[in-house]
């Protein structure tokens, strides 16, 4: 497995971005696009190879790498910061999901991106590096670095190629994420402080701070550290009072960027919750489990109700994203193996479904220049292919059996219902699960309503000439549909990858 190097996987997109941006590269949009697309395809295949050689029963980091500068051991020796990457059960799926969605986003960029091609494709590839680095970082500092690094390409992508109030949205996105990340920085530094205080060694290594913490951090500070991480991920996930950046950013971003934002960037919040809040603080998570479950249920119900009231197609999908991320919180709050597995699975399911739905919205918007339902209608007559794919995606999203969304929701509900993480609290797990289950009806209501409003019924005269989806979009949607059906039928294909890891995670806080 010598040829499988995480360094190549992570930094190759950045290097290719540099190549595309350099003045020597031809300034022809077709060459630029095909080059970027071809590279993202190769990157996806390369990441699949990691999947093939991955050993799910080894719960440690695999494919470990460590880059060193001026030192024998670490990147920044005085502080004990290492430039180390590694893959384990929860990061491998996100790596593959990221490269997959980047590939699809680049495939559908043909229509929606009309200016400044070189800059666009290099920013998307730089964003890929930031995402892959974030998921595979074995060092807290490194994770934070990539977390911040991701802001710059995203800011420009929304600002330059966006629509509507793009300046406001881009700024809001950056400031919210930056605000959250500062809490995380405080937590990282405090964690390091207590490690230095107790062991005399300065380190930011995730492994050292997770598995070899044999000292007690005072309860006040441990909860502060926990909450610092939680706020950062709550902004990203997003959790309801901190979610207001999401509708703006999603609506004003161009279609491929919305796909990436919903498909992979929101998952960073869930990944962070598992990696840091659950894995690093098994004692604290038991204290704060009610907070996770309650905010999860609020997310699910509130965002679904808000989605029901939307008139804009993209806003509706954005709020349904918020609602679906609530399921992740509910599953994590269950604190049992099946709940956390369900949460992981929901992240993957939602990544595929929401990317598809945003693509459909982009397709409709590109052709009709409107996203308001009342101006649309009967599009199924002129866009049959788009209609079929939308049916599939919408049904997967509302949890139709044998599609991927159903498998995820069943696991989460089962986990949350059988969990006893709320013991000793005024509410019971069963009650909260029942409350969350109400949302299934609401979700079905708004999604079916959208299908009916947009694709069925009578058609306006002006939409007679609307074209069906192009081959590029068909390919992207087909690629998205395959795993949605496949893993809906056979969820074990995905869950078996991270189940052993989740089991070992749960063994730390067996209730």
């Amino acid at each position: 497995m010598e040829f499988l190097s995480l360094n190549i996987l992570i930094f190759a997109p950045l290097i290719v971005a540099g190549i595309i941006l350099s003045p020597l590269f031809p300034n022809d949009k077709i060459i630029v696009r095909r080059f970027a697309k071809g590279f993202s395809g190769i990157l996806f295949i390369y990441s699949i190879l990691f999947l093939l050689f991955f050993d799910p029963y080894n719960t440690d980091y695999q494919f470990k790498e460590n880059i060193k500068f001026f030192s024998d051991t670490n990147w920044i020796e005085p502080l004990g910061i290492s430039l180390g990457f590694g893959l384990d059960g929860i990061s491998i799926m996100l790596v593959v999901l990221a490269t997959f969605l980047v590939m699809l986003a680049l495939i559908v960029s043909k229509k929606s991106i009309t200016t400044k091609h070189k800059l666009y494709y290099s920013l998307i590839l730089a964003l890929t590096t930031a995402i892959l680095g974030m998921v595979t970082a074995r060092d807290l500092f490194l994770f934070f670095l990539f977390w911040e690094l991701e802001l710059i390409p995203m800011y420009f992508l929304i600002l330059i190629w966006g629509t509507g109030k793009k300046e406001y949205s881009a700024m809001k996105f950056v400031l919210y994420t930056f605000f959250g990340s500062l809490f995380m920085l405080g937590s990282i530094l405090l964690l390091n402080y207590f490690h230095v205080l107790n062991t005399g060694i300065s380190t930011f290594s995730i492994e050292a701070l997770t598995y070899s913490r044999h000292y007690e951090i005072p309860f006040l500070f441990e909860s502060l550290i926990f909450l610092g991480f939680f706020i950062a991920f709550a902004v990203k996930l997003p959790i309801v009072p901190l979610h207001t950046w999401l509708p703006n950013a999603h609506v004003d971003a161009p279609t491929p960027v919305s796909m990436l934002l919903a498909g992979i960037l929101l998952k960073m919040g869930g990944y962070g919750l598992i990696r840091f809040n659950i894995q690093m603080f098994p004692e604290m998570i038991k204290v704060f489990a009610p907070m996770l479950i309650i905010s999860g249920v609020i997310n699910i119900i509130y965002a679904a109700l808000v989605a029901l009231a939307q008139k804009d197609l993209k806003l509706l999908i954005a709020y349904s994203s918020v609602s679906h991320m609530g399921f992740v919180l509910l599953g994590l709050g269950a604190l049992n193996s099946i709940g956390i597995t369900g949460a992981m699975f929901q992240m993957i399911a939602h990544g595929l479904i929401s990317a598809g739905l945003f693509l459909i919205v982009g397709v409709i918007y590109f052709r009709t220049k409107t996203r308001v339902f009342s101006h649309l209608g009967g599009l199924g007559q002129v866009m049959p292919k788009a209609f079929y794919f939308t049916i599939l995606l919408a049904f997967a999203s509302l949890g139709l059996p044998l599609l991927i969304g159903f498998a995820a929701e069943v696991m989460i509900f089962y986990g949350a219902f059988t969990s006893n993480s709320l013991d000793g609290f005024v509410l019971s797990n069963q009650l909260m699960t029942a409350l969350a289950a109400i949302s299934i009806v609401i979700t079905a209501a708004y999604l079916l309503w959208v299908l009916q409003k947009v694709f069925m019924g009578n058609m306006f005269e002006k939409w007679q000439k609307v074209q069906d989806i192009t081959p590029h979009e068909t390919i992207a949607l087909t690629f998205l549909s395959i795993p949605i059906v496949l893993f809906g039928l056979y969820p074990e294909g995905v869950t078996s990858l991270f189940l052993p890891f989740v089991d070992s995670l749960v063994s730390y806080f067996t209730l």
């Binding site: 005085p78 400031l175 500062l182 920085l185 405080g186 530094l189 402080y193």
Partner: protein, 492 residues
């Protein structure tokens, strides 16, 4: 011959710079206006040679000169290196700018070099009298330099304002020195330290410290003494503004470090006061920068807030803190000089100064916009730049002081969000606004200005990755500073 030996071991760069100054003085009178560019080349050469001569100084030992009134330790060697490098770049900046000075070009370089000499002496001074003389050498030249555009109203205003504020601050500091002399009967800092270590200074020492420190806070434009900065930066010639915001500040900080050792029996008071001043500087600078339209004024307020970050390192009164401040100063020097280079390149070609004049410049000249953007991102503390590492290292130093300093961390963190607003405003102007109507045409040739600009922008990124040697240097230099430390630190 001791005198010459002292100069060889401790003051080589100063000696070379003095010779350059003498040579320039003579040339200034001899050369006609058309060939005064020679002075530019000679001052560059002099600075380069004295930069090289710094490496001849033994950094691991302490050497003194002039009966202990000047001492050259690792910290002062590092600071003098930064001062010389900064001055070198400031002189490079004047290449296309100096035609505005007409027949007074020679004088300009003379004044800059003398100011740099003052800064060098300040960084190594070890005696109250030496500190004062060096500070006045630096200040008097700075007053003259900021009013160098004789016919320009705002330049005159800048000089007068700076002179009045500076005179008051110097008087305040001198007043403090007189108390210090009254308490101890000594002027040499090393002797004063050992006196204070054995005798309590009494309450009078508190007052003394505050007055002395305020003199330097003026020099570095920290919060209560910051109000001169925006007007002076706006009115003064651009290279002078760059000089004041980098070299002059570094010299001020270098001298301030030397006085930190005086806080023997008042550690808490000094620490909390400096912490508050630091926070207020950051906050005030950030809030006032938010609505600026003029890029020079924006840089002035941003430099006030950056000063606050360096002062945080001082407020901790720990080796970690000082090393954080030193590393922050290095990053600030690189990024800030880069930003000023961008401003002067832009100003040379368009004579415009508003942020809105930069609209859409990225599509006219992507290299300029990218490099300027990198410098600004470094000032804002976004990875992967040296500014991000410097901020992280500084915050790390705060946290290592324990929970008592968490308030400092929280406010500093919140302020980094604020600063993002106005740095992003400039970046947004360059990359997004006015893509259709490009206001300013900018030529980007391979001249020395552009080359050094690109080099600085590349350094911002490269040093953001290869950061270990610089942290080590900052740590060694901090260890050579005398601090009133009571607690034992973990400091590998």
């Amino acid at each position: 011959m001791d005198f010459l030996l002292d100069i060889k071991t401790a003051m080589l760069p100063e000696a070379i710079l003095s010779l350059t100054i003498l040579m320039c003085t003579v040339l200034c009178f001899m050369l006609k206006q058309q060939i005064q560019k020679v002075i530019y080349i000679i001052s560059l050469l002099g600075l380069v040679i004295s930069l090289f001569s710094i490496s001849l100084l033994a950094a691991n030992k302490v050497f003194t000169a002039f009966y202990n009134s000047f001492s050259s330790d690792f910290f002062s060697v590092l600071m003098r290196f930064l001062i010389l490098a900064g001055t070198l770049l400031v002189i490079v900046m004047t290449k296309d700018y100096s035609f505005t000075f007409k027949n007074r070009q020679g004088e300009f370089y003379l004044l800059i070099l003398i100011a740099a000499l003052g800064a060098l002496l300040l960084a190594g001074s070890n005696d109250l009298i030496m500190i004062f003389i060096a500070l006045e050498t630096l200040s008097l030249c700075s007053y003259a330099l900021s009013g160098f555009l004789k016919k320009d109203k705002s330049s005159n205003e800048a000089a007068l304002k700076y002179l009045i504020f500076g005179g008051a601050a110097s008087a305040l500091m001198l007043y403090g020195f007189s108390f210090l002399y009254g308490i101890t009967g000594l002027t040499n800092l090393t002797e004063i330290f050992s006196y204070l270590a054995n005798n309590s200074g009494g309450t009078m020492l508190n007052l003394t410290l505050f007055t002395v420190i305020s003199g330097f806070l003026f020099k570095v434009a920290a919060f209560p003494f910051h109000s001169w900065a925006p007007d002076v930066y706006e009115g003064a010639p651009v290279p002078v503004a760059a000089f004041l915001s980098t070299v002059s500040k570094i010299a001020g900080f270098a001298a301030l470090v030397k006085l930190m050792g005086l806080a023997f029996n008042n550690i808490e008071i000094i620490s909390i006061t400096l912490g508050l001043i630091a926070l207020l500087s950051i906050t005030a600078g950030n809030f006032m920068a938010l609505n600026q339209m003029n890029i020079k004024r924006l840089m002035a307020y941003s430099s006030i807030s950056q000063t606050g970050f360096v002062l945080i390192g001082f407020a901790l009164l720990s080796y970690m803190g000082i090393s954080g401040a030193v590393f922050y100063l290095i990053s600030y020097l690189i990024a800030n000089l880069g930003a000023w280079l961008a401003i002067i390149i832009f100003n040379d070609q368009t004579s415009k100064n508003l942020i809105s004049d930069l609209n859409g410049i990225a599509y006219n000249n992507p290299y300029f916009a990218t490099c300027f953007g990198l410098c600004l991102l470094s000032l804002a503390g976004i990875p992967v730049t040296i500014g991000f590492m410097a901020k992280f290292y500084l915050f790390h130093a705060i946290v290592q002081m324990g929970p008592a300093y968490l308030w400092l961390l929280i406010f500093a963190l919140l302020n980094t969000i604020l600063s993002l607003f106005y740095y992003l405003k400039v970046i947004k102007a360059m990359f997004v606004c006015g893509q259709e109507s490009i206001n300013s045409k900018l030529v980007f040739n391979g001249g020395v200005l552009n080359t050094s600009f690109i080099a600085l922008a590349v350094l911002v990124v490269i040093l953001g990755i290869l950061v270990t040697p610089f942290i080590n240097i900052a740590r060694y230099s901090a260890l050579s500073v005398k601090l009133p430390i009571k607690q034992i630190e973990i400091f590998k």
